[in-house]
Symmetry: C2
Subunit: 405 residues, 2 copies
């Protein structure tokens, strides 16, 4: 089954926003075994819209029109589709009531224009919008389906989640599994998978790099679900044999989430003394629900004075070896551990740039203090300031996942 996604609006074309709707819908469709052949972004221009919708309906089974359902005269998606399909546009009484109720609820006067948002294509299936005003629609036409979804991601994403699977119709059976790998780069992962010779006509395996993590995505597609299931299980067990502990999670649990869950499971508390990463590492952990179960405090000791005062690093060490040194990292991690808030204390000190002072840009010392056992890592991270901070933070998370798994 072939699909294409048309996003409508100027913001994407002038580069003001990223096309997150296109990505979101592509991912959901892929997970349902639908092949997205085209993503197209264009403006609210009636003629261009008509031309594009025509072309897309001709070559694809499912066409998604995203955006351009707002109240203004610039919002032409519905009109262009009605023109192409030669259908009438009517006011839907339920959607009209919803509109009135919506404006009553937020105690704002409805403008004349808003009534446009109760207009629907005659005989379409209406997808009610619980997150905003403009309804979505599914219009059938010559064995094909055209979907309309409102553009704001806050409405678009929950509507796609709610309505997509139930409305795209018959398709092949499909099974999808993602295995998430740390500690092996994407190229090496792909190489090792290729050497296993496990793909067949019903199975495709792709790898994707997400910073220091690699996603192995296995898609099994065919007529017979039970035979697909056997093949899939077999491949997963081969991949686990190949990558072992480097597989830290399944189905795109992020590495911070996996780490928080692992620490909760093992009842271990963690704490960070961040210099180079300046809070970024702790923020990756605290972004995860229940982080407060495994993190009680962290310290961003940016200055030498803070390292001395808060972490008991000795002034002599800072003078003799510098703030960016293995010795300083060790004393930071020791001082942090002594505070008694954690089972694992981790310190990071390094040179984030853009102007180097003591060391080369990217040089970073990380000390993992597991109580009586210290482990120091000297790393050279590449990139600009933000990337170095990002890579250093991800390194610590990956390292802990490998260590504790």
């Amino acid at each position: 089954m072939k699909a294409e996604i048309i996003t409508i609006g100027t913001e994407i074309l002038i580069g003001s926003i990223l096309n997150t709707n296109g990505r979101f819908l592509s991912q959901k469709l892929s997970d349902l075994g639908v092949h997205v052949n085209y993503q197209i972004s264009l403006r609210d221009d009636f003629n261009e819209l008509v031309e594009q919708i025509n072309e897309s309906i001709n070559r694809s089974d499912l066409v998604f029109l995203c955006g351009g359902l707002g109240p203004t005269e610039d919002d032409l998606t519905k009109d262009a589709l009605a023109h192409v399909l030669n259908k009438e546009i009517v006011i839907d009484p339920n959607e009209y009531d919803h509109l009135i109720a919506f404006f009553n609820k937020i105690d704002r006067k409805m403008s004349e224009n808003n009534i446009r948002q109760a207009r629907v294509i005659k005989d379409s299936k209406i997808l009610h919008n619980d997150w905003g005003i403009a309804p979505g629609e599914v219009v059938e036409y010559q064995n094909k389906k055209v979907f309309l979804f409102p553009g704001p991601p806050k409405e678009f994403e929950p509507m796609v989640t709610k309505y997509l699977a139930g409305n795209i119709g018959e398709k092949n059976d499909i099974l999808i599994k993602s295995l998430n790998v740390v500690g092996v780069g994407e190229a090496a992962t792909e190489d090792r998978i290729r050497k296993l010779h496990i793909e067949d006509s019903e199975i495709s395996i792709n790898t994707f790099a997400h910073f220091s993590e690699t996603e192995i995505k296995i898609i099994a597609e065919g007529d017979d679900k039970s035979s697909l299931k056997i093949k899939m299980d077999n491949i997963i067990s081969i991949l686990y044999k190949e990558f072992g502990n480097n597989i830290y999670a399944e189905d795109n649990v992020t590495s911070p989430e996996a780490l928080v869950n692992l620490l909760i499971e093992k009842d271990l508390k963690i704490s960070f003394a961040e210099s180079i990463t300046g809070g970024l590492l702790t923020s990756k952990i605290t972004a995860i629900p229940n982080a407060s179960k495994i993190l009680k405090a962290s310290y961003i000791t940016y200055s030498n004075k803070a390292k001395i005062k808060d972490l008991n690093v000795s002034n002599d060490t800072l003078i003799e070896y510098g703030a960016v040194s293995s010795n300083t990292a060790v004393e930071m991690a020791k001082g942090l551990y002594k505070k008694g808030d954690c089972d694992i204390a981790i310190s990071l000190t390094g040179e984030a740039g853009p102007t180097p002072s003591e060391q080369e840009i990217g040089k970073t010392f990380i000390c993992f203090n597991y109580g009586n056992k210290l482990e120091v890592k000297e790393c050279d991270f590449k990139g600009d300031r933000r990337e170095i901070q990002e890579r250093a933070s991800k390194y610590v998370i990956s390292h802990l996942l490998l260590k504790l798994n």
Copy 2:
């Protein structure tokens, strides 16, 4: 001048990555006054590529083909373009030498396939790639231009930056200015601008929301640069009169960057005691070069114990009013200020969710301690955990910009 951007590769169509190249190039083209009418993503499929390139060349002046220049047999962009234009593909001797030198330098054996990356379309203008292997190209055809750029953003972005402006040819004069606003929402900003009645046929003004900030983008386009300049200056002064201090920066300096620069200029040090934001706020500041000049230390006091030990919050306050309370925020900010590392101490305590404990999710108390003067804000931030943390962090930055500007 009309342009369209074609990005080639499966990753975007299965939703594995966002189309950042499309956005990057759109923005650069808009800044040069070129109208991007279409962004199209498709797979490495020879026939689909040929069809799309044909269509795009017919309707646009500039066509950008991004990606599909790699070494494998799947990389078909160049072949499809050569087919459409009926041109030969040849090995470029300079690019061949570059390839050999590249592999020598990284001490890796070049595979047979890599030679494909020295293939170029005959008589094209070669855009040498200093950031990778595959060169870019500009091919002229019937008064139109087709650009080829390699897909990896690490190569794509610097190449676009280096080669775009010099190769797109004649165009109208254009002036662009962005004013960045905090403290006024996008809808209100747009409304106030509309009421000023300052647009004319040569001037367009658009607003874009970036979280709590609003960008006002003014584009002046016409034949006479000096008259455009006068119009532009006039509009900017009207907008400054309308929005005053709410304009915190120009040309998309981010709000953390503006704040760091402002604090450096005023020689003020800042420090954060973060509970709800868990390091995110400090990380926004430390991501900016020279942050170490204005931030010496921050504390992520997630637990009650840490609030007591590190910030001297009284146990009685925590028991009587709760950790998420104005009283606790005040004591945190007082304790932080007493440490002596800053001129402005800011504390945040709140309920990030997903499960509420003391207060409703989103409820946040923020205390700004400017030495002898305290200011407490009670906020209700909307969204999920990450959004609440994001909004709280941005709120503090915006508030400080308005206060200190």
